[in-house]
Structures are given as C-alpha cells and as structure tokens.
C-alpha cells in the first residue's frame, strides 16, 4: 500500500538501526521519551526497540488522552448520563475507562444512555434527529482532536441547535511536557514529538525545549521507519553537538501547523486555570474549556456535577507509568489483576496506553504465547 509499505521495510530498518548504533557515544545511555500514545503503540506493535542498541531507551510519555483522564471526570460523565433526558456520546476507548462508580459500559448496564460515536459531528447529527433529548459529547483528546470538537460547536451555533453540549476534557501537550521536565523523578535526553498534534500546532511551540533544556525534539510520524528515522535524527544532533526542533514527518506536518485549525481553537476554547491529569496531578493552563462566546454549549454550566476528586486504586501505578518512571511490566498489578479484559488503570484501557500496548504486543505477549504452546 502506497505511503504505508515503504515505511515498514525491514531491510531499511536494519540499516537505520546500524547507523543509529554507529552514532552512539560509547558508555553513554540515552533516554528518549515518545510523548504520544500512538508512537507507543507502533513501538510495541512493530518491535521498534528491537532495532535499537541497548544504549537507547525509549520512555513512554503521557500522550494517551484516555489514560490521563482522572477518575472523577469519568464519574462526572456518568452523572450527566444518568439524567433521563440525556444521551451521552463519546469515543469508543472511553467506554471502558474505570471511574469511581464504574465505567460508561457499567452505567449503560444500569440504564444510562451512553453511545459511541466516531466523530463529534455524529453527536451533533444525533442531536438533530432527537430534538426532545439533550445530547452531550464527552470530549477528550489533545490538539489533534480538539479542532473536531470546536468545528462541531461552530456548526451547532450556525444551525442554532440548542439540545447539544460538550463536556470538555481536551488537554494540551506543551504543559504536560513541561510538567515532565520539571519532575524530579526522571532524567530525559530527548523527545520524539507527537506527529498529529504537531499537524495542528506545528513545531514552533516545542522550541523552548531545545533552547532552555538543550534537548533535541523530532516530530515523528507513526510508521516504524518514521520512528527509527526520528531516533536517527536525534542521535545525529547529539553527534554534532546540536539541540534543535526538527520535523521528520514533513509529509504531513507543516512547521507552523494548521493556522485555520488554530484560529478555530482560539475562537471556541479558552485555557482552564488548572486541570487535573491522572499521574501528573494538577497542571496550570493545560486544558481547554468553552470560551464565553460558546458557553451555552458547555455541559459543565448546563448540569450540576459531582466534581469529586477520586483517588486512583492503591495498587495502580499508572501515574509512574505515565511519567515514564516505571515500565509497564514494573507495575505491581500488570498482567495479573490488571489486564485489557479487566483494567484497573487507564494505561491498560486504551490501545494507546503503554500497558495495553506492551501486554498485547510486547515481550509479555510473547511469553504468554510460549507458555500457552508449552501447555
């Protein structure tokens, strides 16, 4: 398949792996964080780490939007959905995220009406078709997804559809990276920048990372060779004594992003003063809420919410996994009490969560397979 097969060539991967190895400084260990959950998924699915020398360690970051939703916000969604006149709509991954009162699937079993949609525009379509019901879209995601929510709000306003609202949980990537860099737990050497977030925001917002922290950041695509080439570009920067923002994903990402999408975002949303991230805690100016102009579409203003902070289960170490401090298999409940079928933590819920990706594609899956063969 064009634009796919050429980025999965095993022979080229081997060549890149050798060139990356040649760029490693003897005795030095490199920690490279992939911020995006989509990258984590590719790394495990295609065994990208197997093509890298031991000196390079890929550290998984907080870029899975489902994984960073705190349990209290899940409970808030359930509280909205339990109203008789409400249909709550959300993306598929959200359905199984555990809150303090169970997941959306559990709420449906208790009688709530929570429906999966592919796009917020599908939620708006449901609103058009059901004028006697209130349709609420449970919005999650980084800057890749936020424009689709913003566009939907603009269309709702243009069509004067008033039985539609948004429970907004959109987050922004830059404050999360800053929180990680400020964390005393972790020492990083470089970043693989999130490819599709960068399609919207561009590469310029990362420049402070290179300037202030002296760290390379390469915006990377999502195929295995994209990631290997991006690691190569990072290692070349180290070898040449540079620390810059570079764009490996030039076939999609423009350095200044998508100005129309950025304008729509700034029209429809404003930054929240604070927002709680699972694992990272409360981060200033790290999430979006509807701007005063579109406040009539804000479900948080339309409905009374519990707004209770719910602590993560004690056994769950998602916080450390999200910050890259722990590897998935180092969590106490990984693969035993916490599996994709019965997730305790959010990192095991979404396919982009580091734990689920490692469980499904990593060494753990290989070990399980060999055990099953032996039995």
């Amino acid at each position: 398949m064009r634009f796919v097969d050429e980025f999965r060539d095993a022979a080229l991967a081997e060549v890149l792996g050798r060139e990356i190895t040649a760029l490693c400084e003897p005795g030095r260990h490199y920690k490279v964080m992939e911020v995006c959950g989509g990258h984590t998924h590719t790394i495990y699915r295609y065994g990208v780490q197997d093509h890298l020398p031991e000196a390079i360690e890929l550290v998984h970051g907080p870029g899975c939007p489902v994984c960073v939703i705190p349990m209290g916000r899940v409970d808030d969604g359930i509280a909205i959905a339990e109203r008789e006149d409400v249909v709550l709509t959300c993306f598929g991954d959200m359905m199984r995220v555990p809150g303090g009162r169970g997941s959306f699937l559990d709420a449906n079993a208790r009688g709530a009406d929570i429906r999966m949609v592919y796009s917020p525009l599908d939620a708006l379509r449901i609103a058009r078709q059901n004028p006697d019901r209130q349709i609420v879209f449970y919005a999650i995601g980084f800057e890749t997804t936020a424009p689709s929510t913003a566009l939907t709000v603009l269309r709702a306003a243009a069509e004067r559809i008033e039985n539609f609202s948004v429970f907004c949980n959109h987050v922004t990537i830059i404050p999360a990276i800053k929180a990680i860099l400020d964390s005393p737990d972790l020492r990083l050497d470089a970043f693989l920048g999130p490819g599709h977030v960068s399609t919207v925001i561009g590469c310029r917002p990362y420049e402070w990372i290179s300037r202030d922290f002296g760290m390379p950041l390469v915006c990377a695509g999502f195929e295995p060779l994209d990631l290997l080439q991006s690691v190569y570009m990072i290692m070349k920067q180290f070898a040449e004594g540079r620390a810059e923002v570079e764009n490996q994903y030039g076939r999609v990402v423009q350095y200044d992003g998508n100005p129309v999408a950025l304008k729509v975002l700034s029209d429809v949303f404003t930054l929240r003063p604070f927002f709680e991230w699972r694992g990272l805690g409360s981060i200033a100016h790290s999430a979006l809420q509807l701007s005063p102009t579109y406040a009539r579409y804000d479900a948080e203003l339309r409905y009374e919410l519990p707004g209770v902070r719910v602590a993560d289960p004690k056994a769950c170490q998602c916080g450390e996994v999200l910050k890259g401090v722990l590897k998935p298999w180092e969590c106490k409940v990984f693969g035993t009490a916490c599996t994709p079928e019965t997730p305790i933590g959010t990192c095991m819920v979404s396919s982009e969560g580091a734990c689920a990706a490692y469980y499904n594609y990593g060494q753990y899956a290989k070990q399980r397979l060999s055990l099953e063969v032996l039995q």
């Binding site: 398949m1 796919v4 989509g38 997804t145 129309v260």
Partner: protein, 85 residues
C-alpha cells in the same frame, strides 16, 4: 457506514471498545477526496471505503486531493509529493 466499520486501513483498527480505536488518540488516516458537497467531502481510503469528512479546516478541496482525517474532520491537506516545503 457505521463508526464500527470505519477501520484504519493501515492498522485495521476501528472505533470501538476493543483495542485499536483510531479516534481517541493521536491517530489519523490519509483519505482521498472523491466528491465535494459544500463543507463536507466523501473521502475514500485505500480499500475503497468511504466516509463523510468535514473540510472547513483545510480550505477548498477537490476530487483527488489527499487529506489527513481525524474524528471525521480533515486537519491537513497533503501535497501531491507527500512533503511540505
């Protein structure tokens, strides 16, 4: 086409409660514009599957244009050479 049938042509992933939801994360797919209808366009993937895509964020599109689509919205138009300057 229902959301469950809209699979990522690269990974086979679809929006569902099962692993591989293409809309929730930083995942997007490249589709080709087949038919323009106002602010929307019917777009096809490599296997010929179609979906309706909102195009306001990428400006005017024409049949044959390739767009990066996330959650039913085109967030970037790709150049014919597959590379931005």
């Amino acid at each position: 086409m229902t959301h469950a049938e809209r699979a990522d042509p690269a990974t086979g992933a679809a929006c569902s409660t099962e692993p591989g939801c293409i809309t929730c994360g930083d995942v997007a797919v490249v589709l080709t514009v087949a038919l323009v209808d106002g602010c929307d366009a019917r777009c096809r993937d490599g296997q010929g599957r179609e979906e309706l895509v909102a195009t306001e964020l990428v400006g005017d599109v024409r049949p044959g244009d390739r767009v990066l689509v996330h959650a039913g919205v085109a967030i970037e138009r790709l150049t014919p050479t597959g590379r931005h300057e």
